[in-house]
Amino acid sequence: MSLATATGVNAADVERARRVLILSDQSSVMPGVSTVQRNAESVIRTALQWRVEFNAEYLDAGRYPQEKLSPLFLNYVREKYASHPPDLIVALCTVSFDLLAELAKTDFPSVPIVLMGLTEGEVSLEKFGPNVTGFIQRSDMLGTMELILKLQPEVRRIVVIGGTTPFDKAYLNRVREDARSLEGRVAVEFWTDRSLAELEKDVSSLDRDTAVFYTTIFRDSTGESFVPVEAAQRIVDRASVPVYGFFEGIVKVGAVGGSVIQFETIGKKVGEFAGRILQGGSANSNPLELHKDALPVFNWTALHRWGIDENRLPPGSVLEFRTPSAWEKYRWYLLAGLAIITFQTALIIGLFVQRSRFRKVERSLRESHNLIELASGAGHLGLWVRDLPSGEVWANRTLRTILGFKEEAVFQIDDLYGRIHPGDRDRALAAITAAAGNGQLFEFECRLSRPGGTERWVLVKGKGVLDSQGRLIRTQGVVVDKTASKQTELQADRQREELTHIQRISTMGELAASLAHELNQPLTAILSNAQAAQRFLLANPADMETLQEILRDIIEDNSRASEVIRRLRSLVRKEAHEYAALDLAGIVRNVMLLVQSDAVLHNVNVSLLCSQGPHHAWGDKVQLTQVVLNLLLNAFDSMKDIPADERRVVVRIEQNGPHRVKVTVSDRGHGLPGDRLEKIFEPFYTTKPDGMGMGLTISRSIIEAHGGRLWAENNPDGGATFNFTVRVDRRRTGRVGSQPLRELEKSDHLGQP
């Protein structure tokens, strides 16, 4: 309170939370952005005694074209903060200066802005209005290239790699300009028209007189988008020579290093600017500064890998990932040990009193920690807790192993997110953000891409923890490695598909005789018509009218034959299953056509009863056709021994609750003895002399894969009924209920007298 008075702020103002809106034209999945933001937030929080509420919006201009997105982004931010304008805007800007300037000037004219421009270009301040301060951060391309020549005097050629977005190109231009001063000392070559995949290949066969300078790749020449540090990882992994870069993330992925701009420092500087203004400083009194600071940072492992002499490093270099020598490693332990012994000697008596209590607490703490590690290790459970105010992330040993982090590695939440496969990352982050903010549970499966390129499948479950004011203060959860079971699952899927296909082919074998007949009919008609036509042509005069009729019939019969073949092919075709909205009545009708001649042969009357539809199921057409076909052929088979005029099969389609459709196939055969109602679904159970015994087994597995059920029951008045349910297409929630059955279609090919 005394502080507040000192800075001339009244008491009510102290209670009020300060709102800081962070606008970034890149995405938070970029490690640079998140590092700047985290450090800025942390500095602001430490500097102020008030509660600070942070909001952040990301345009992601590095990876997505902006023509359509920018206006949407503007409107979104405008709407969102119209009623709660921020006290300060922090603009982290790389390319979209105009956009952020417009937003600040038109929508929040009185809100001060701290601008951090990561750019090689000139930035005009007028656009932002009078309330702006901050700095422009330049890269140190020349410094990096000088370092290459210092560390590797044998280098005659530097290959520069970069992307195709304006942001990428700006950096490449800077390298181009700076390279002029190196003319004569080294050849600088730009590889900017190759895709990342091509680059990966090309850098793998470079000679030792060459070094690679990786700038940024937001988008490669094929138009594919990347997080630059991930593209860097791929280049570093494949390169046959040392790779250098100008931003600090490059060191983390195994490049040798460079004169790098430090996002942590940038973040802290942004935080200091922001803190000054929030404490009452004025923005327009601080003009925009130009910062060129960069730090020579190197990866110790990479230096050793390429045999680069540590003595060549310039003074003041930072060595990361250094494996310390034994003395270095244990020196502090020894010194600390000595200090503790001295301290203990002095306080031993005092401590003696409390010792037992301390020990107890300490032991139980350690025990509970060990217990967690033991239990989670035994259950292969990765655990994590992220504390939002401090930004700290705790992960147990299993999770570190799953993610491929070293046991003692310290990492931030972004490093953790960075391990999520790029293809799954947006989905995963969206799932976490959506649920965690409300303190709800989230759960998803995703792939991890780990250093070394090994991919793993994991299941993530977790929740957000809110404080009493409903703010998210912690996220925590469990990660389970499902790689093994996922692979088994995929394999089982493939095998089931294979078996399903084979069963379909064998069903076609059963139908072969009647299908031959089906094809023979149009062929007979075509041949006889053609021969009749020949004869009519010989007659004098030729009967043109009849000839025309004949030709019309031939064309019609030809399409009839093609239709049979098309129906056949749709069943025999082998393709990965494909889910879509399907009209069930259409499927049943199609199968009825397919078995039509078989029905005639067996003297069976088939009819379809359909309640008020349409019934759109969600499923795979070929597979559901197969199920209906199996059930119909089984029904025919069950009625071989009963009088011909009693052989009837009725197919019904009706709604089954709000989310399912039920299809039933009822025959008038002898029904099934009670113990067979389930047995028939077992593999290799068959009543047909040449049956495979897989029809119903596979049908059931198909239906279960569709989230439904397939079962058999006996009719009260004789015969059996096979029922299956499938999910309705959720997008078409139409008329639902138990409308009366209406006769939709009845096969009339069997006129029983």
């Binding site: 005789a513 031959a516 007949h517 023979n520 009919q521 149009p522 062929l523 007979t524 008609a525 075509i526 041949l527 006889s528 018509n529 021969q531 009749a532 004869r535 009519f536 007659a539 009849t546 004949i550 019939d553 019609e556 019969d557 009839r560 005639v600 042969l601 003297n603 090919h749 069997l750 006129g751 029983q752 007298p753």
Partner: protein, 203 residues
């Protein structure tokens, strides 16, 4: 010519083919339809039948026709030739058993055969009917005499069998020869063989 096939398109094509060879065709969609439109007795005719028909099958129809008074020759056409079925059909007296798709010369040759057979059978049927007519005109006594004559008995033996005079028998015998329009005993024997045993009097 009668054609029975349940497939409308095939029926139409075959009708055209047979018509183009100069035959008259009546098409039917089922055996039942054919039977209901009957009887089709009288003149020489033959049937082209699909073996596989809904309801009453081709083979069933063939059997039924054989027991009728006018067994027209039958040609089977079939979509799936199966040996036992064709043997059965041929044993039951089918003229031919032709697999689909049908070649015109096969079908037309079979039709020629069947028509020849139908004409012959029709002529025979006409002759028998005429002979039966004549036999109907015999008196009961003449019938008895005729039966004994064709068994080869002499007039004297017949008179003894019937308990009458030899002279009377002689008169009856002459009447029989006259009414049956035959010249010799041998001819009379052949005629009675053709019409079977002399039918009983109409009363």
């Amino acid at each position: 010519m009668f054609l029975i096939d349940d497939d409308a398109s095939v029926r139409r094509a075959l009708t055209r083919l047979i018509t183009s060879a100069g035959h008259q065709v009546r098409p039917f969609a089922s055996a039942r339809e054919y039977l209901d439109s009957g009887p089709h007795g009288g003149g020489p005719a033959c049937l082209v039948l699909d073996v596989r028909l809904p309801g009453l099958s081709g083979l069933d129809l063939q059997r039924e026709l054989r027991t009728a008074k006018t067994p027209h020759p039958v040609i089977f056409i079939t979509g799936h030739a199966d040996v036992p079925m064709s043997v059965k059909a041929m044993k039951e007296g089918a003229v031919d058993f032709i697999p689909k798709p049908v070649r015109d010369e096969d079908l037309l040759r079979s039709i020629e055969q069947a028509m020849t057979r139908a004409e012959r059978e029709s002529a025979e049927r006409a002759e028998i009917e005429a002979l039966q007519d004549r036999a109907h005109r015999l008196t009961p006594r003449e019938r008895e005499v005729m039966a004994l004559v064709v068994r080869g008995l002499l007039n004297k033996q017949i008179a003894f069998e019937l308990g009458t005079a030899e002279k009377t028998v002689k008169v009856h015998r002459a009447r029989v020869m006259q009414k049956m329009q035959v010249q010799s005993l041998a001819e009379l024997v052949r005629v009675t063989e053709k019409i079977g045993l002399p039918p009983r009097p109409a009363s």
